[in-house]
């Protein structure tokens, strides 16, 4: 699992956005806004990875309960899937 080709990450108005471009934007330009943790997840998704590997990395780097991290990562992955941003 990784970000689809054509998805760009750009800082706009102090937030990181993931936006579809090129063929990924054939229907519309999807946009997902990320907080700091989600920004880290988006960067991890620039390389091929798995949901569990992402959770492990975030759990190691951030001071938060694993269950909370799992919930946040799943919500972000769902949003990215909904916007056709994952391959």
């Amino acid at each position: 699992m990784k970000l689809r080709e054509g998805v760009i990450l750009q800082k706009v108005l102090r937030s990181r956005l993931a936006v579809t471009t090129g063929d990924a934007a054939a229907d519309f330009h999807g946009m997902v806004k990320a907080n700091e943790t989600a920004d880290r997840v988006l960067h991890l998704l620039q390389e091929d990875t798995t949901r569990d590997r992402i959770v492990d990395t975030i759990f190691a780097e951030y001071d938060a309960p694993r269950q909370v991290i799992e919930k946040d990562v799943d919500a972000l992955l769902d949003a990215l899937r909904d916007h056709g941003m994952l391959q």
Partner: protein, 223 residues
């Protein structure tokens, strides 16, 4: 062949169609052209006009200028854009401003104005000949001071949006050619960001003079 100044740039349009040339009649100039557009031989006027619009819009995109979907109004030297999905009533609302304020209102474009980001200080809105079914356009330019995102509602309400709330809605209304490369989309995101930092309002409105008064008071309370 006609030479036209659009968004402060000069285009030579080569066309065998008098109807196409008429589209640019109000924009003619004698300056040397910066870019030449050869009108394609398409079966009807709408398709030909759209092809010229796309080529001009792409050239302008490379010169810090973007086409935005909306109505650009010059109200006493204050540029105001009304934007919304097609069919919401942008033109109807703007015409109510014209009815209420008369010559204080100049409708520069009723559907697709150009916005220039050449200057760091101000966004400048320009008329264009592509102006929707009402064909509302007057050559000219104005500094953009506020944006109003319209939606139909049973009662009139207005609120100022935070830049974060405004950004996605503004980005959607900037012209982006299908398949635009990542760097082009990134440029439009920067443009949407600058627009979102202007006063942006969400106006729920009926077709009424009351909606105009409400929007006018809210905008001029801020700018």
């Amino acid at each position: 062949m006609i030479t036209a100044k659009i968004a402060d740039h000069t285009f030579r349009i080569i066309s065998r169609s008098a109807t196409i040339e008429r589209l640019f009649n109000a924009y003619t100039c004698d300056d040397p052209p910066e870019h030449t557009i050869v009108s394609p031989d398409l079966p009807d006027f709408q398709q030909t006009s759209l092809a010229i619009q796309r080529e001009m819009t792409h050239w302008l995109h490379l010169h810090d200028t973007v086409l935005m979907h909306g109505v650009l109004m010059d109200f006493q030297n204050h540029g105001i854009i009304f934007t919304a999905p097609s069919g919401t009533g942008k033109s109807t609302h703007t015409l109510l401003w014209k009815e209420r304020f008369g010559d204080s209102v100049r409708i520069l474009n009723g559907d697709k104005p150009f916005l220039s980001f050449n200057s760091d200080e101000a966004v400048i809105g320009y008329a264009s000949p592509w102006s929707g079914k009402e064909n509302l356009h007057t050559p000219g330019s104005v500094e953009l001071k506020a944006i109003v995102i319209l939606h139909q509602a049973p009662v009139n309400t207005i609120k100022q949006l935070s830049p974060e709330q405004a950004l996605p809605q503004l980005f959607e209304q900037l012209y982006c050619r299908p398949g635009y490369a990542a760097e082009d989309v990134a440029i439009n995101l920067r443009r949407a960001e600058r627009l979102a930092l202007l006063p942006v309002f969400s106006l729920g409105c009926t077709i009424s003079r009351e909606a105009v008064e409400l929007a006018h008071n809210a905008i001029f309370n801020v700018i």
